[in-house]
Symmetry: D2
Subunit: 154 residues, 4 copies
């Protein structure tokens, strides 16, 4: 089967240190009340964080397979402002807010056009294969610091 080369999954991108990631609401995301099920916004946000790492050339899959470690959400606070609906086009904007030795704190906001749908503060901890907090790879800290500074100086 010939697949045209321009048919590829959507990449997010950084603009002035902020990461922009688009997604659309499908049937699977909604519940019987007609709006997006509350836990599914966390999936959108995780996709955005994974894409952020991808855009920064941090390979989560390799880091996990090599036994270096993996990020896990340590805590999260989320505010649901407006409901999203089937077919909505959303954008997740993610900003690195704070960097610690073994964790990173991000602000993530979901918009539908000019409307704020939800906002969250997420702390992701870097964990060893045994599940213990571990210092993030030096190169990753450097990359996170760069985009954090870019965003604060923009």
């Amino acid at each position: 089967m010939d697949i045209p080369s321009h048919i590829a999954p959507l990449d997010g991108e950084f603009v002035d240190g902020r990461h922009f990631f688009a997604c659309r609401v499908y049937f699977e995301d909604t519940d019987f009340s007609g709006i997006v099920y509350h836990a599914n916004y966390l999936r959108y946000m995780e996709r955005a964080r994974s894409d952020m790492l991808r855009q920064l050339n941090m390979n989560q899959h390799d880091a996990f397979e090599s036994g270096e470690g993996v990020y896990a959400v340590a805590d999260m606070a989320i505010k649901y402002v407006l409901p999203a609906k089937l077919d909505d086009d959303l954008v997740v904007i993610s900003t690195v807010e704070k960097l610690r030795g073994a964790s990173v704190i991000m602000d993530q906001v979901i918009y539908r056009g000019a409307d704020k749908i939800a906002s969250a503060r997420v702390q992701a901890a870097f964990l060893s294969p045994e599940g213990r907090p571990r210092r993030q790879p030096k190169q990753w800290t450097k990359l996170f610091t760069k985009v954090m500074n870019d965003a604060h100086n923009a």
Copy 2:
């Protein structure tokens, strides 16, 4: 097909104003890092809240269908303490912490035996079919108040 009558989904139950709800971790709940995907704890907690309403004879489905209204999570803060794994037996303990005119605040903690897995504070707002905050049914407020008092006096 004859289905033995004792084969029925699990109901949670109230003990001294606290609601106990058990669930097990299946393949669908885990991710490639070997533990439960962080957004899926929110599904366990929502099942527990839905069961709590069910045990109190509040019929969410009817309230929605009749146009009275439906609960939606307004905000949530969650702390992930220990990872849950495939086949783990979990218990969600939910307590009504505060009652407002158009919303209810609950504390929810997930345990695996004596180990705390995650804890959350959740505010659920009662919404009209148009998505506006609406006063909760009087009878529901009464029932929530009762279990809230039971828990505080226990």
Copy 3:
């Protein structure tokens, strides 16, 4: 918040009557065995079908809200050929195979590059709000017929 206008969810597209839709594997899609959980391929396929309708200007949301009807999967046969993994770039290729009065049959194949990951035959029935089979909108039948012929003549 200014969102650059080129940041938008990915649309699929038709090439010679076949619909191409790209998606990427995220944490949420995998399970503890390290590969995509089998039910999640159905989500990819449904996204592709929804996008196909969107590209053909069939508005599912409006059809449902106006009481005209909604598609529901009536039956499905799926073969899992190769496992997909975290970060994989996938393409779903969907072809209209047969058109009946109240249903449409599609073939859907998921590829990762040249590798076939999964293939399915899906029958979607058009249902009235009461859940009874209903003749599909005339305009939709016309549009499906066109792409079906395009694919068979390509």
Copy 4:
């Protein structure tokens, strides 16, 4: 926190070689059309299969961790008969239909009371950690054979 010992997740059970497993429909399972999202029936069926193995004392988690192998769905055909709705009490009845060296074929039917909701035929292949078909553990073959015979003789 004292958790009453009778608060535990629901186990399914065998009756005459057929495995019965109950589950309830929650918000997470439904979509905006008001019924259970089609892919979610596969989750119910997988829970039932996992529980079946559990009741037979086959430990999937250990088999995977020890490098012995893991089951993966190889193919599946599913018929959606009636839609399930929020709060519905469902029962999944699973029967071992055929046993091959490296795979097992099961019939699974979902009921709501006397109503058939969906039925499926599922082939699960036993795979080595490298993803190649592998002969199932001898003891497991024996156990599957026993319940298969029990069902056919019932």
